[in-house]
């Protein structure tokens, strides 16, 4: 099968896994945390993204690692229980670290939008909470575009999580889909629990 851009984007793990994926994934998580520190964004959960609250750098960095490890541990356990193949932990942890790279794009975009202002504007205008904020004409549409793109990138990341899980654990069909959904929910809960000790 030839490497084409579509398969590389949607299923990069057909071509890259294990240590190589981990070597890309860890810097991606670190860089995402570093950029999130500048914009005040928080990736506080397996699939969460919240804006804006300035925290210490280590909080932003740890959030990414907690999100990654929570999902990797839960899906590794699912793989051990359900797969009949000889699975390698390095593939699960590596591919799931790599799969977080759409959040790097979100963190980058976060530097370009006035998320804090737009958030306050929406809170005041629609919920009558907080203080009145004056925005430039372009800032609200840019913020809405940012939210839409972030949503699409989050869906893309979940697709990558699923591909990482199914390829690393050699699972298919209903068994793969059901175990992934349950695993994702459990990992989200686990990450929230661990993060609660951080704040």
């Amino acid at each position: 099968m030839k490497k084409n851009i579509k398969s590389q984007l949607l299923n990069p793990f057909e071509f890259i896994a294990g240590g190589k994926a981990l070597l890309i994934g860890i810097p991606v998580i670190l860089l995402t945390g570093r950029l999130a520190y500048f914009s005040g964004m928080h990736f506080d959960g397996v699939i969460d993204m919240h804006i804006p609250l300035q925290s210490e750098l280590y909080i932003h960095l740890l959030e990414g690692f907690i999100a990654w490890l929570s999902l990797a541990i839960v899906l590794a356990l699912a793989g051990i229980i359900l797969s009949s193949s000889r699975i390698r932990m390095i593939d699960i942890f590596g591919t799931l670290a790599f799969a977080r790279w759409p959040m790097l794009l979100v963190a980058l975009m976060g530097l370009l939008v006035n998320a804090d202002g737009a958030n306050k504007y929406i809170m005041y205008t629609f919920l009558k909470q907080g203080e009145a904020v004056v925005l430039e004409n372009y800032e609200l549409p840019v913020f809405i575009l940012f939210i839409v793109i972030t949503l699409l990138l989050s869906i893309w990341m979940i697709v990558l999580f699923y591909k990482a899980f199914t390829i690393s654990c050699n699972l298919k069909g209903a068994k793969a889909i059901i175990s992934f959904i349950i695993g994702l929910l459990l990992a989200e809960a686990l990450s929230k629990l661990v993060l609660s000790f951080l704040y």
Binding site: F13, E14, F15, A17, G18, S84, S85, D91, I167, S168
Partner: protein
């Protein structure tokens, strides 16, 4: 004009049962052997699968080396091998 590649038929085109070897021919001296032989298990795999199996043997059974040859990730190659193992087991049952 290029002659089309011949493929060894494995199942009967009429009833889909597994075929057997009835006749063998020596292209050197034209000797013919008539009998009834089972097709070897390896012949039941398609050309791509046979190529993979042979390359895998040449790579001393190293999935890492196969991943390099095929330009695929290790788990992709392992999953493909698992598919072939399952297919082989199914064929043995028939």
């Amino acid at each position: 004009m290029k002659t089309p590649e011949k493929k060894l038929p494995q199942n009967c085109p009429s009833c889909n049962s597994r075929l057997k070897v009835k006749k063998l021919h020596c292209s050197s001296c034209s000797t013919e052997v008539d009998g009834l032989y089972d097709l070897p298990l390896l012949a039941s795999f398609n050309n791509d699968e046979q190529e993979f199996i042979i390359a895998f043997i040449k790579a001393s059974g190293s999935l890492k080396e196969m991943a390099g040859i095929m330009d695929k990730s290790y788990p992709s190659v392992r999953n493909y091998l698992d598919e072939l193992i399952n297919k082989g087991k199914q064929l043995e049952k028939k």
